[in-house]
């Protein structure tokens, strides 16, 4: 076995996740091209990718860094509106669709990273629930600001207005229109593009976790004081994680926004932040694979439950509570473990009985 590098268990697991994701992508693409999937599902493909990015980026903050964030949708909002704004300006310069989208996504990511850096500063002083409140407050502030933000574009250039709509020339157009949000977006996002962004984010996160930086971050999560005492720079790593996580959420926001012709600021409110947090917790803290699966299933679940239209959110709530009770209560968990153990022992007994028969 000389010269052959053996993979560690984590790397192997990571490759399985990425491979599985790729496989699902190919299958869905074939189904889509073959016209087997319904329009309902086709319309959900880009949002699912966006929510998957949201889930893995929030998992980086909550699962790997260990800080609860209740305002992740705020970064998505910054990315969505910032990205659309820059993307629309780019349209004036270039006709290339893919270039526009690429610039928009990068701009969305950078703007959201700046916001993440800003919101990361209070993190240095606050802990636990107090920090959670600051992130919640931040999400609300972003929503309120976008709600009163007007950006118009005409021959004279950009016009920005707060609360009051700025006057623009007749042939100009409003890019961000207050409470109506961004209007007249060209639908540039495609499933493939969203998937590529998702894959890139996943690769970045996996590499980050396995690097020296990642180990430092996880040391901070497990015991801040011990980590500090061996010389890990708390400020640096916390800000870094907040900025990376925000950047990814921003990119998800841009991808998401470019899937619709209009996007309202209320799309990225407190409920969206909570929804993404639910993906992360249900999928398992720190497990990217879990986040991906939970995000996909839970985005699809309400769509699939459409037949029970009135009851679907009620069912969703009950499922959520039951899953949390089932996975976190020691008694219920033991109960399930016992059942699984019994089934296993039955199989094992059968096997041994068979072997005995064969021998005898």
């Amino acid at each position: 076995m000389k010269g052959k590098k053996t993979l560690s268990k984590t790397s192997k697991n990571n490759f399985i996740t990425m491979g599985g994701l790729l496989l699902v992508y190919v299958i869905v693409l074939i189904l889509k091209e073959g016209g087997i999937t319904t329009n309902l599902i086709n319309g959900q493909l880009v949002p699912i990718c966006a929510y998957m990015i949201m889930a893995i980026s929030l998992n980086l903050t909550v699962g790997i860094l260990g800080e609860l964030s209740l305002g992740h949708a705020g970064f998505m909002s910054v990315g969505a509106f910032g990205g659309v704004l820059v993307g629309t300006l780019m349209q004036e310069v270039s006709d290339s669709k893919i270039l526009c989208l690429l610039v928009a996504v990068i701009a969305g990511g950078v703007l959201a990273a700046l916001a993440g850096f800003l919101i990361g500063i209070p993190v240095l002083r606050l802990r636990g629930d107090y920090l959670a409140i600051v992130t919640l407050a931040f999400g609300q502030i972003i929503k309120s600001i976008v709600n009163i933000l007007y950006v118009g574009l005409d021959a004279d250039g950009l016009h920005v207005g707060f609360i009051e709509k700025p006057e623009i020339l007749e042939e100009g157009k409003m890019i961000i229109n207050g409470a109506m949000g961004a209007t007249g977006i060209r639908k540039l996002s495609t499933f493939t593009f969203a998937f590529i962004v998702l894959m890139l984010c996943l690769i970045v996160i996996y590499n980050l976790i396995q690097s020296r930086t990642g180990r430092a971050i996880m040391a901070l999560r497990d015991n801040r004081i011990a980590a500090e005492s061996v010389g890990i720079n708390v400020t640096k790593y916390k800000l870094l994680v907040f900025a990376i996580s925000a950047a990814m959420a921003g990119m998800a926001g841009t991808v998401f926004a470019y899937n619709y012709s209009t996007v309202a600021p209320t799309k990225f409110d407190f409920n969206t932040s909570i929804l993404v947090l639910v993906f992360v917790v249900l999928g398992g803290l720190g497990s990217m694979r879990g986040s991906l699966i939970a995000a996909a299933l839970l985005t699809l679940l309400p769509e699939l439950l459409r037949e029970f239209s009135d009851y679907r959110m009620l069912v969703y709530a009950i499922v959520l509570i039951l899953v949390m009770l089932g996975t976190n209560n020691p008694k219920i968990r033991d109960f399930f473990a016992k059942i699984v153990g019994k089934i296993k022992s039955v199989f094992v007994r059968k096997k041994t009985a068979k072997e005995e028969n064969a021998n005898g």
Partner: protein, 292 residues
């Protein structure tokens, strides 16, 4: 005069926040959990009172008492079914369960009572008092402030003097030690939830008397703001909830009056962030030093 009337309105709105914040802060103090479903208990309380007074034409007092009763039972049931099994679980698991509970209540209300807005009839009637020239204060405003003061005094006496109140304080300091002293921790937590939920019912009735638009999501935004108020004053502290709530109410009304209605929320939350940066555990919060 306009300034004074804004102050009074701010105190009134703040009183509602303070009453809701009490529910958050008491539950947090004792169970160390953020009860996100609290805002929706407010909504349930308001609906019960609405149906009693508007549909069945009962007197307001009966409506309020009944809605307090329903919410108290609801609070205890929620605690027993959803939170008690998770006493040993991580705080995040409890948080998500609470969020699930909040979804459940909101969607249950939507099924039962539809999402059509109901016009809540104020429990103290319309009208108001002309205090001086140019200073008109509605009855609802005055009653809200009075109710808040009464609740505050009653709670302070209750937690300070009564046996149950002492048990609550003991549980919030150290559950294990409290149990060794013969305090029934489960009962104490249930009673905390019961008191918090009864207060939520009162807050719901007052809130809808002042802002008479009742929908299944009525409770969520005031819930978030009251929660912010609790953190503002230092979560776990009863006087902190009062101060936090009233300051938040005054800031909100002033931002609405002098700056802009649309951005008032942003200003409230921005002030919160600044306060937390200066005092990381809220205005009256205790500083906890970590042990290695």
């Amino acid at each position: 005069m306009e300034f004074l009337s804004n102050v009074i309105n701010g105190i009134s709105l703040g009183s509602i926040y303070a009453i809701i914040a009490l529910g958050y802060t008491m539950v947090y103090g004792i169970a160390k959990m953020l009860n996100f479903a609290h805002g929706d208990v407010i909504m349930v309380g308001a609906y019960v009172c609405f149906f009693m007074t508007s549909r069945y034409n009962m007197p307001a007092v009966v409506g309020i008492l009944l809605s307090m009763f329903v919410c108290t039972v609801l609070g205890i049931v929620i605690e027993r079914l959803a939170y008690k099994p998770l006493r040993q679980a991580t705080s995040l698991a409890v948080l998500i369960t609470a969020i699930g509970m909040s979804y459940f209540l909101q969607n249950g209300a939507q099924l039962l009572w539809t999402s059509n807005p109901k016009v809540f009839k104020s429990v103290v009637g319309d009208g108001g008092v002309q205090l001086t020239e140019g200073l008109y204060v509605s009855h609802v405003t005055l009653v809200t402030i009075a109710v808040c003061v009464i609740i505050m005094i009653a709670l302070t006496v209750f937690t300070g003097k009564s046996k149950m109140g002492k048990a609550m304080r003991a549980c919030s300091e150290d559950k294990g030690a409290a149990q060794l002293m013969g305090i029934n921790v489960n009962t104490t937590i249930s009673i905390t939830f019961a008191i918090g939920s009864a207060l939520a019912a009162i807050a719901g009735v007052l809130l809808c008397s002042a802002y008479p638009n009742l929908v299944p999501t009525t409770g969520s935004m005031p819930g978030i703001k009251a929660f912010t108020a609790a953190v503002f004053g230092g979560i776990g502290s009863i006087p902190g909830a009062l101060i936090g709530g009233i300051l938040l109410g005054i800031i909100e009304i002033f931002a609405k009056a002098y700056i802009s209605t649309e951005i008032s929320d942003a200003i409230v939350f921005a002030v919160l962030i600044v306060v937390l940066l200066v005092k990381p555990t809220g205005l009256l919060g205790k500083k906890i030093s970590e042990k290695v």
